[in-house]
Amino acid sequence: MSIQYRAVQWNRHKRIYDLLLVAGVVLFIAVFMIVGLTRWQGTAAAHPVTLLMRATSSCAITMLSIILMIGPAARLSPRFSPLLYNRRHFGVTMFLVALIHGAVAVFWYHGFGIVNPIVSVFTSNARYDSLSGFPFQPLGVLALAILFVMAATSHDFWLKNLTPTVWKTLHMLVYVAYALIVMHVTLGFLQDDVSWVYGALLGGTAVVIITLHLVTGVREWRRDSRDEGQAFGEGWIDVGSVDDIELNHAKVVVLRGCERIAVYRHADGISAISNVCAHQNGPLGEGRIVDGCVTCPWHGYQYLVHNGQSPPPYTEKIPTYDVRVEGRRILVNPEANPPGTEVTPASIPSETSGDRA
């Protein structure tokens, strides 16, 4: 929710998050370097610069793996949501660590020749027609370029001005970057003799990431088919009973197999709004009503439940839906109203009114 951009919207929570993040990175690299310097000495010793390159690369790939696990993990259990909250800072920090690795590699391995170091990265090994001998460093450069664009466009300014759809697509490239990095590391191993432990770790992590994504994908798909609203004549859709919804909470319903809406129960009755937060598509139906506003569980954007507008001075708007209550059943008109349209909440007949009438 912004009326004026700031460089970083810090709050107490984010400060603690960032502090832990930086401390984690420093600790990782320090331990890696100390173990590396003390364990291998004499002829087996690795140069400190080489060690720094390895420490930063291992740190970056660990961070990237965590980043890719946070999304599905938070969907499986809300315990992981605090990590999701500030994932962007995690991503930008990961890029900076990877950048150190890339920069050190370019200057250390290519900086002392007569060929331009950047050109040398692409040409020193020109076996582009070989599979196992394929030059692995250009793959790293490509991955780093993707991570750069993602880090550079992570500010809310870009989210708004590139439109959330373009932004989201751009940030999906993280999977391409991950694939390139896995190849970069694997080929690097094949062309060098590295401990099998490292390879096993890399492979194991990749399997965990893929499994997590598959498991959440199947779960969401099942839940969507279970929570599908039922047609109820004249285009209205029966989305369930008012008794299914706790006060100030919502039920997420899928309309016509694709759109998700959040059906909120609140003091004035029932209201239906889009489930998609205007900020970063967070699941509004998994939030709750705080101070009279639907509050997104991801970063706390707020909307008035009866018109889908952020309270002034904010200007975000999301679509609303017409609702009515028949008996205890909630009926929703699947045609979305334009973002910010006022809809009178459907009042809930009191539980006992049926007996008295």
Binding site: I3, Q4, Y5, R6, A7, F148, V149, A152, H155, K160
Partner: protein, 72 residues
């Protein structure tokens, strides 16, 4: 290997043009582009500089389009 040199020259030219454009964009262009950015602090402007340099053709097209729509 001239192929590699040519590609890198192209990428470098793109980046240099991007930086020049971005410096103008983050201090001037952006004001017309997004009302929320008006009067934004320098730290914010510097933070969007790398992205502006990377995506400059896109932003340039949008700026030109905005200029055409509102003939001053």
């Amino acid at each position: 290997m001239p192929v590699a040199e040519t590609i890198i020259l192209a990428v470098a030219s793109y980046a240099i043009l991007g930086v020049v454009f971005a410096i103008w964009f983050v201090f001037r262009g952006v004001e017309r582009f997004d009302p929320v950015a008006q009067g934004g602090p320098v730290s914010f402007r510097l933070l969007i500089l790398p992205g502006s340099a990377a995506l400059w053709p896109l932003l340039l097209i949008r700026c030109l389009r905005a200029l055409k729509e509102s003939p001053a």
